[in-house]
Assembly symmetry: C2
Homo-oligomer: 290 residues x 2
């Protein structure tokens, strides 16, 4: 009996700690896709960079919730860093350029080859600790990069963070990937998470030699899909070999290629997400005043 | 106590049923990647088609173990089909071109939008049923398409099928995706699954207008990685817009584009996998004779 009370007590304490942590983060935005390899992590890393560049320096965080395949540290040039312990068993996120705070499973692994062979319950616990036992401090924006699928990790994040601003859904133009991404839209709707909108990544390719436009993965499907599902369409990002090179070198492309079509497209998307978050803030403020 | 015995009895019975099913399938090959979106399902669908075309008609099966994002039915032109019940509660796989037998979560969903919001234990159970309660019949080859990561689904498949021939590991040339694929190699090694080799997908792009070669996702990393990890390198498949179009139309590209560089590259890979499986068979035969 005493043991039962202490377990319940511990859980209550953990929930209160989580609530307190989250209350210091103004906006929480999940980036989801349903299908892997559509560039979710690239979009997340560049979103963080864009917001840090536009008036939120030292106030942006990224939670890499992909336990099996964490890519955010590499994309933000933070490979090889580790989480450092602070007072009371808390950990400090790794701090990157423009004060972006990053937490990722990658910071806890001995090397690149080490796989994390975990079933669901352990992953849920890890994500909870990444939120609760971490010195996030006061943030304007926390971006959460979720692994593909609608299983343990996305479920955990959505249950642990009940006040998510919403989800950005990333897709590729191919029909195969869109079929899967539709599931992500239904998933967010069923979980009661607002959908900020759909981003179509790798949309068309311009040959750098001759300028011919080739739709390697087809193009335009993202917009059609957004219309048919009645969710906002945020924009399309063309294929650009620099994006891959920059990601490999740990440089978000929007910081490196200030005038490329991909950067221009991305900036438009950032504006729409910012607008959405500001509206969320206004709505919350009105709610409190009532 | 009686209840305990009946649970243990049920489990024993299930294990025996699974063993019997698997004994009728000569070769079981898992296709894994660690990272999503590297073309695992495309490779799996085309492998199945290649083996069916080369002397194994009606003797090839595909188990789509991606519960959240099943793509195999679309790629093999089987969208909209369902699993049909047989005697004793067993189910029949959907049969495609050249008698390829396919089992996928997709055949059980009401539509494309329906997400499968399941945590790990349920997924394990589903995969078990896909193997045990299915009329696979006698097969020469069963290809298992696994979702990205090293979590519940791959773990389940490797524990349920102890006599896997081995794993084909698919990667993309970018460093970011290779870092994650290394984890898949370690995972297979730790689970005691032989590694058939590494396939590098989306390796370089030839502009159809001017013939310029552009390495959108870089190229050549797969071979280097295979060497550094001391595992066989099976080959590289170039980017070809036809592959995406064919996949969207449910036509495996090796059946549709008989002379393209991608098809040529793929055929070489098929040869190596066949050789590996034949060696496995010889080794097993010797083992039995001892």
């Amino acid at each position: 009996m005493t043991e039962q009370i202490s377990v319940a007590g511990e859980q209550y304490e953990r929930e209160q700690k989580l609530k307190l942590k989250l209350s210091k983060i103004k906006h929480k935005i999940a980036v989801i896709s349903g299908k892997g390899g559509v560039g979710k992590s690239t979009i997340t890393a560049n979103l963080a960079m864009a917001f840090a560049m536009q008036g939120h320096e030292n106030k942006v965080g990224v939670l890499d919730a992909d336990i099996h395949g964490p890519c955010i540290p590499k994309m933000l040039g933070l490979k090889g860093q580790t989480l450092i312990g602070g007072p009371g068993g808390l950990l400090f996120p790794v701090v990157g350029k423009l004060g972006i705070k990053v937490v990722s499973m990658d910071f806890l692994l001995p090397n690149d080859e080490a796989p994390v062979i975990w079933r669901g319950p352990l992953k849920m616990r890890a994500i909870q600790q990444f939120l609760t036992d971490m010195m996030w401090g006061e943030l304007d924006y926390l971006f959460i990069d979720l692994p593909p699928g609608t299983g343990d990790e996305p479920l955990s994040v959505m249950q642990l963070i009940p006040d998510l601003d919403g989800a950005v859904i990333v897709t590729m133009p191919s029909e195969v990937s869109q079929a899967v991404v539709k599931k992500a839209v239904s998933f967010a709707k069923q979980m009661g998470v607002p959908i900020i909108g759909i981003v179509e990544n790798m949309s068309g390719f311009v040959c750098p030699d001759c300028g011919a436009k080739v739709n390697i993965f087809r193009a335009g499907g993202g917009k059609k899909m957004a219309e048919s599902l009645s969710v906002p369409y945020l924009g399309s990002i063309p294929i650009d070999p620099n994006i891959c090179n920059d990601s490999d070198n740990g440089l978000p492309f929007i910081a490196e290629n200030k005038t490329s079509p991909a950067t221009e497209a991305f900036k438009e998307i950032v504006k729409k997400i910012e607008q959405f978050s500001e509206n969320t803030e206004t709505a919350r403020f009105k709610e409190i005043k009532k």
